[in-house]
Symmetry: C2
Subunit: 152 residues, 2 copies
Protein backbone atom coordinates (compact mmCIF):
# COMPACT_ATOMS: atom_id res chain seq x y z
CA UNK A 1 0.00 0.00 0.00
CA UNK A 2 3.07 2.25 -0.23
CA UNK A 3 2.56 3.61 3.30
CA UNK A 4 6.35 3.56 3.96
CA UNK A 5 6.14 3.15 7.73
CA UNK A 6 9.87 2.58 8.28
CA UNK A 7 12.19 5.10 9.91
CA UNK A 8 15.95 4.84 10.50
CA UNK A 9 18.70 5.93 12.84
CA UNK A 10 22.26 5.81 11.51
CA UNK A 11 25.35 5.54 13.69
CA UNK A 12 29.00 5.44 12.66
CA UNK A 13 30.52 7.16 15.66
CA UNK A 14 32.72 5.15 18.02
CA UNK A 15 31.10 6.42 21.19
CA UNK A 16 27.52 6.08 19.93
CA UNK A 17 28.30 2.61 18.58
CA UNK A 18 29.44 1.62 22.07
CA UNK A 19 26.02 2.63 23.41
CA UNK A 20 24.25 0.36 20.91
CA UNK A 21 26.52 -2.70 21.07
CA UNK A 22 25.63 -4.02 24.58
CA UNK A 23 21.94 -4.20 23.66
CA UNK A 24 22.48 -6.77 20.91
CA UNK A 25 22.67 -10.55 21.25
CA UNK A 26 25.38 -12.14 19.11
CA UNK A 27 25.37 -15.54 17.38
CA UNK A 28 23.52 -17.52 20.00
CA UNK A 29 24.38 -20.80 18.36
CA UNK A 30 28.07 -20.32 19.10
CA UNK A 31 28.20 -21.36 22.74
CA UNK A 32 31.88 -20.51 23.19
CA UNK A 33 31.73 -17.04 21.69
CA UNK A 34 30.24 -14.07 23.48
CA UNK A 35 30.32 -11.77 20.46
CA UNK A 36 32.91 -9.64 18.67
CA UNK A 37 35.73 -8.35 20.85
CA UNK A 38 36.94 -4.75 20.95
CA UNK A 39 38.50 -3.96 17.55
CA UNK A 40 36.24 -6.40 15.73
CA UNK A 41 32.97 -4.74 16.60
CA UNK A 42 30.76 -3.17 13.92
CA UNK A 43 31.85 0.28 12.77
CA UNK A 44 28.31 1.32 11.91
CA UNK A 45 24.71 0.51 12.71
CA UNK A 46 21.41 1.17 11.01
CA UNK A 47 18.45 0.82 13.34
CA UNK A 48 15.13 0.18 11.61
CA UNK A 49 11.95 1.40 13.30
CA UNK A 50 8.26 1.03 12.57
CA UNK A 51 6.48 4.36 12.83
CA UNK A 52 3.30 3.33 14.66
CA UNK A 53 1.61 6.58 13.64
CA UNK A 54 1.80 5.39 10.03
CA UNK A 55 1.19 1.64 10.31
CA UNK A 56 1.48 -1.38 12.57
CA UNK A 57 2.01 -3.62 9.55
CA UNK A 58 5.77 -3.25 9.25
CA UNK A 59 7.58 -6.59 9.55
CA UNK A 60 7.64 -7.57 5.87
CA UNK A 61 8.75 -4.03 5.04
CA UNK A 62 11.59 -4.26 7.54
CA UNK A 63 12.83 -7.50 5.96
CA UNK A 64 12.62 -5.99 2.47
CA UNK A 65 14.52 -2.86 3.52
CA UNK A 66 17.11 -4.77 5.55
CA UNK A 67 17.90 -7.06 2.63
CA UNK A 68 18.17 -4.16 0.17
CA UNK A 69 20.56 -2.33 2.50
CA UNK A 70 22.66 -5.45 3.11
CA UNK A 71 22.97 -6.21 -0.60
CA UNK A 72 24.04 -2.61 -1.20
CA UNK A 73 26.57 -2.85 1.61
CA UNK A 74 27.95 -6.12 0.26
CA UNK A 75 28.38 -4.53 -3.16
CA UNK A 76 30.54 -1.87 -1.47
CA UNK A 77 32.76 -4.55 0.09
CA UNK A 78 31.18 -4.32 3.51
CA UNK A 79 29.73 -7.12 5.57
CA UNK A 80 26.85 -7.08 7.96
CA UNK A 81 24.43 -8.85 10.19
CA UNK A 82 20.71 -8.33 10.70
CA UNK A 83 19.98 -8.56 14.39
CA UNK A 84 16.49 -9.09 15.77
CA UNK A 85 17.60 -10.29 19.19
CA UNK A 86 17.70 -6.87 20.82
CA UNK A 87 17.27 -5.57 24.35
CA UNK A 88 14.65 -3.14 23.03
CA UNK A 89 13.87 -1.43 26.33
CA UNK A 90 17.53 -0.82 27.04
CA UNK A 91 18.27 0.45 23.54
CA UNK A 92 15.23 2.73 23.61
CA UNK A 93 16.35 4.23 26.89
CA UNK A 94 19.98 4.84 25.96
CA UNK A 95 19.06 6.40 22.58
CA UNK A 96 16.01 8.26 23.95
CA UNK A 97 13.68 6.83 21.31
CA UNK A 98 10.12 8.20 21.29
CA UNK A 99 7.38 5.64 22.08
CA UNK A 100 5.91 6.14 18.60
CA UNK A 101 8.87 4.30 17.04
CA UNK A 102 8.93 0.52 17.43
CA UNK A 103 12.44 -0.97 17.29
CA UNK A 104 12.38 -3.69 14.61
CA UNK A 105 15.89 -4.64 13.48
CA UNK A 106 19.46 -3.49 13.97
CA UNK A 107 21.83 -3.82 11.03
CA UNK A 108 25.46 -4.08 12.07
CA UNK A 109 27.97 -3.10 9.38
CA UNK A 110 31.71 -3.19 8.98
CA UNK A 111 34.60 -4.60 7.02
CA UNK A 112 34.18 -8.39 7.12
CA UNK A 113 36.95 -10.32 8.85
CA UNK A 114 35.36 -13.75 8.93
CA UNK A 115 35.21 -16.30 6.14
CA UNK A 116 31.63 -17.53 5.75
CA UNK A 117 30.83 -20.72 3.87
CA UNK A 118 27.30 -21.56 2.78
CA UNK A 119 26.82 -25.32 2.52
CA UNK A 120 24.01 -27.84 2.28
CA UNK A 121 22.47 -29.17 5.49
CA UNK A 122 23.92 -32.53 6.46
CA UNK A 123 22.04 -35.83 6.84
CA UNK A 124 21.06 -34.98 10.44
CA UNK A 125 19.14 -31.94 9.20
CA UNK A 126 20.80 -29.61 11.69
CA UNK A 127 20.69 -25.96 10.56
CA UNK A 128 22.87 -24.59 13.37
CA UNK A 129 25.79 -22.54 12.10
CA UNK A 130 29.21 -23.40 13.55
CA UNK A 131 32.88 -22.52 13.45
CA UNK A 132 35.64 -24.92 12.65
CA UNK A 133 39.13 -24.94 14.16
CA UNK A 134 40.38 -22.41 11.61
CA UNK A 135 37.58 -20.03 12.59
CA UNK A 136 35.69 -20.53 9.31
CA UNK A 137 31.98 -19.88 9.84
CA UNK A 138 29.83 -22.64 8.31
CA UNK A 139 26.16 -21.96 7.54
CA UNK A 140 24.14 -25.05 6.58
CA UNK A 141 21.24 -24.26 4.24
CA UNK A 142 18.25 -26.46 3.42
CA UNK A 143 18.36 -27.76 -0.17
CA UNK A 144 15.90 -26.35 -2.70
CA UNK A 145 13.98 -29.64 -2.80
CA UNK A 146 13.19 -29.28 0.89
CA UNK A 147 11.89 -25.72 0.73
CA UNK A 148 9.83 -25.97 -2.46
CA UNK A 149 6.80 -27.88 -1.24
CA UNK A 150 4.97 -27.86 -4.52
CA UNK A 151 5.02 -27.03 -8.18
CA UNK A 152 1.46 -26.55 -9.26
CA UNK B 1 19.24 -18.06 13.89
CA UNK B 2 19.41 -19.72 10.48
CA UNK B 3 16.24 -21.77 11.15
CA UNK B 4 15.06 -21.24 7.54
CA UNK B 5 11.35 -21.58 8.24
CA UNK B 6 10.16 -20.52 4.77
CA UNK B 7 8.64 -22.88 2.21
CA UNK B 8 7.48 -22.14 -1.33
CA UNK B 9 4.97 -23.19 -3.95
CA UNK B 10 5.72 -22.25 -7.56
CA UNK B 11 3.11 -21.89 -10.28
CA UNK B 12 3.57 -21.00 -13.93
CA UNK B 13 0.69 -22.98 -15.42
CA UNK B 14 -2.24 -21.09 -16.92
CA UNK B 15 -4.90 -23.16 -15.19
CA UNK B 16 -3.19 -23.19 -11.79
CA UNK B 17 -2.56 -19.47 -12.05
CA UNK B 18 -6.29 -18.95 -12.57
CA UNK B 19 -6.94 -20.73 -9.28
CA UNK B 20 -4.61 -18.36 -7.42
CA UNK B 21 -5.58 -15.06 -9.05
CA UNK B 22 -9.09 -14.57 -7.55
CA UNK B 23 -7.70 -14.81 -4.00
CA UNK B 24 -5.49 -11.74 -4.37
CA UNK B 25 -6.46 -8.09 -3.84
CA UNK B 26 -5.01 -5.71 -6.42
CA UNK B 27 -3.87 -2.11 -6.01
CA UNK B 28 -6.48 -0.96 -3.55
CA UNK B 29 -5.51 2.69 -3.96
CA UNK B 30 -6.69 2.65 -7.58
CA UNK B 31 -10.43 3.04 -7.09
CA UNK B 32 -11.28 2.70 -10.79
CA UNK B 33 -9.24 -0.42 -11.43
CA UNK B 34 -10.29 -3.86 -10.33
CA UNK B 35 -6.98 -5.53 -11.16
CA UNK B 36 -5.28 -6.85 -14.29
CA UNK B 37 -7.61 -8.05 -17.05
CA UNK B 38 -7.29 -11.35 -18.89
CA UNK B 39 -4.08 -11.25 -20.93
CA UNK B 40 -2.37 -8.91 -18.48
CA UNK B 41 -2.48 -11.20 -15.49
CA UNK B 42 0.70 -12.61 -13.93
CA UNK B 43 2.22 -15.56 -15.76
CA UNK B 44 3.75 -16.99 -12.59
CA UNK B 45 3.36 -16.95 -8.84
CA UNK B 46 5.61 -17.81 -5.94
CA UNK B 47 3.71 -18.36 -2.73
CA UNK B 48 5.78 -17.95 0.44
CA UNK B 49 4.80 -19.96 3.51
CA UNK B 50 5.97 -20.05 7.09
CA UNK B 51 6.50 -23.62 8.26
CA UNK B 52 5.02 -23.46 11.77
CA UNK B 53 6.78 -26.70 12.71
CA UNK B 54 10.09 -24.86 12.32
CA UNK B 55 9.29 -21.37 13.64
CA UNK B 56 6.56 -18.78 14.17
CA UNK B 57 9.08 -15.98 13.71
CA UNK B 58 8.88 -15.69 9.95
CA UNK B 59 7.79 -12.22 8.82
CA UNK B 60 11.23 -10.58 8.52
CA UNK B 61 12.44 -13.69 6.69
CA UNK B 62 9.55 -13.47 4.24
CA UNK B 63 10.39 -9.84 3.44
CA UNK B 64 14.07 -10.70 2.97
CA UNK B 65 13.27 -13.63 0.66
CA UNK B 66 10.61 -11.72 -1.29
CA UNK B 67 12.98 -8.83 -1.98
CA UNK B 68 15.80 -11.17 -3.05
CA UNK B 69 13.47 -12.98 -5.45
CA UNK B 70 12.07 -9.73 -6.86
CA UNK B 71 15.53 -8.27 -7.45
CA UNK B 72 16.52 -11.47 -9.22
CA UNK B 73 13.37 -11.34 -11.33
CA UNK B 74 13.97 -7.70 -12.24
CA UNK B 75 17.50 -8.56 -13.33
CA UNK B 76 15.97 -11.10 -15.73
CA UNK B 77 13.70 -8.43 -17.24
CA UNK B 78 10.60 -9.52 -15.35
CA UNK B 79 8.37 -7.42 -13.17
CA UNK B 80 6.48 -8.37 -10.08
CA UNK B 81 4.36 -7.45 -7.15
CA UNK B 82 4.50 -8.64 -3.54
CA UNK B 83 0.95 -9.21 -2.37
CA UNK B 84 0.03 -9.51 1.30
CA UNK B 85 -3.66 -8.79 0.82
CA UNK B 86 -4.72 -12.39 0.28
CA UNK B 87 -7.89 -14.37 0.88
CA UNK B 88 -5.83 -16.89 2.85
CA UNK B 89 -8.66 -19.29 3.66
CA UNK B 90 -9.79 -19.43 0.05
CA UNK B 91 -6.27 -19.89 -1.30
CA UNK B 92 -5.53 -22.61 1.27
CA UNK B 93 -8.66 -24.47 0.26
CA UNK B 94 -8.17 -24.34 -3.50
CA UNK B 95 -4.49 -25.39 -3.28
CA UNK B 96 -5.09 -27.92 -0.48
CA UNK B 97 -2.41 -26.43 1.75
CA UNK B 98 -1.67 -28.31 4.98
CA UNK B 99 -2.45 -26.41 8.21
CA UNK B 100 1.23 -26.49 9.17
CA UNK B 101 2.04 -23.95 6.43
CA UNK B 102 1.04 -20.36 7.12
CA UNK B 103 0.44 -18.31 3.95
CA UNK B 104 2.63 -15.19 4.18
CA UNK B 105 3.07 -13.51 0.81
CA UNK B 106 2.25 -14.13 -2.82
CA UNK B 107 4.73 -12.88 -5.42
CA UNK B 108 3.13 -12.25 -8.80
CA UNK B 109 5.54 -12.31 -11.75
CA UNK B 110 5.38 -11.54 -15.44
CA UNK B 111 6.65 -9.32 -18.23
CA UNK B 112 6.00 -5.75 -17.10
CA UNK B 113 3.61 -3.73 -19.25
CA UNK B 114 3.22 -0.68 -17.08
CA UNK B 115 5.56 2.29 -16.76
CA UNK B 116 6.25 2.96 -13.10
CA UNK B 117 7.71 6.26 -11.96
CA UNK B 118 9.14 6.71 -8.47
CA UNK B 119 8.87 10.32 -7.35
CA UNK B 120 9.12 12.37 -4.18
CA UNK B 121 6.00 12.80 -2.07
CA UNK B 122 4.28 16.14 -2.76
CA UNK B 123 3.69 18.96 -0.27
CA UNK B 124 0.43 17.34 0.94
CA UNK B 125 2.42 14.31 2.13
CA UNK B 126 0.10 11.84 0.36
CA UNK B 127 1.81 8.49 -0.33
CA UNK B 128 -1.05 7.01 -2.40
CA UNK B 129 0.11 5.74 -5.76
CA UNK B 130 -1.94 6.83 -8.77
CA UNK B 131 -2.23 6.59 -12.54
CA UNK B 132 -2.24 9.50 -14.89
CA UNK B 133 -4.23 9.80 -18.12
CA UNK B 134 -1.52 8.02 -20.10
CA UNK B 135 -1.68 5.08 -17.68
CA UNK B 136 1.70 5.87 -16.10
CA UNK B 137 1.84 4.56 -12.54
CA UNK B 138 3.20 7.16 -10.11
CA UNK B 139 4.61 6.04 -6.76
CA UNK B 140 5.33 8.87 -4.30
CA UNK B 141 8.17 8.07 -1.88
CA UNK B 142 9.06 9.88 1.34
CA UNK B 143 12.33 11.81 1.04
CA UNK B 144 15.39 10.50 2.90
CA UNK B 145 15.26 13.42 5.34
CA UNK B 146 11.81 12.27 6.49
CA UNK B 147 12.73 8.64 7.09
CA UNK B 148 16.10 9.14 8.79
CA UNK B 149 15.03 10.29 12.24
CA UNK B 150 18.50 10.56 13.64
CA UNK B 151 22.20 10.43 13.02
CA UNK B 152 23.86 9.59 16.27
Amino acid sequence: MNTQPLKYILSCDRHKNSLIFPHLAWARSLANWSGPCEGERPSAYIIIFGDTEISRFVDYDAGIAAQSIMLGATEKGLGGCMIASIDRDGLRKVLEILPRYEILLVLALGKPKETVVIETVGPNGDTKYWRDNEGVHHVPKRPLDDIIIGYI
